[in-house]
Symmetry: C2
Subunit: 108 residues, 2 copies
């Protein structure tokens, strides 16, 4: 993996393995990626808190990794997951972090 | 949108609107996002070439925006698209940039 383009981080796209829904995007450093691979639970690096965090460690809404894919230039991972706990991924209580439309005049 | 966390950029996840497949992740600055919204075709900022580029402008494999969503903290967009041209999004000729598995010992 190439962590050089974003100061040691890569984006990690979290996708529901069953529904195909994109649930969130987090960032991983090499340690977060290694922990994700070893534990089988999605773990990120928080840019605001400057620390590692396993998603759902306190809420129970962990993301169990089903499959991981890497992109063509090794700087992004796609993590297909099973939602544990109540299945709500977003801290707002929504199932996905992408719950708001962005209006765009050119969209057909 | 909050462009401050990544020096003026936000990640843009490109998802096939029909199949749900995640096709690629690119980065947008405010201009690329405005162009994407105005033209209805996904446009990115290339970090390596330091320039704007409309995906598929030369190959014809443009990505027609069907819907855009923003995440809970306004720093990532999800762009649902229809694949034009031959439908292959990756520069390697694959349909998606995520065509390689990342083996992980903890994955069930």
């Amino acid at each position: 993996m190439d962590f050089s383009k974003l100061d040691g981080l890569i984006p990690a796209v979290i996708q529901d393995d069953e529904s195909g829904e994109v649930l969130m995007v987090g960032f991983m450093n090499d340690e977060a990626l290694a922990l994700t691979k070893r534990t089988g639970f999605a773990t990120f690096f928080s840019r605001t808190r400057n620390t590692l965090w396993m998603k759902g460690e306190t809420s129970g809404n962990r993301l169990q990794v089903v499959r991981m894919l890497v992109d063509c230039d090794d700087d992004t991972v796609l993590v297909k997951v099973r939602r544990l706990g109540d299945g709500n991924v977003c801290h707002t209580g929504e199932r996905t972090c992408f719950y708001r439309d962005l209006p765009a005049e050119g969209v057909v």
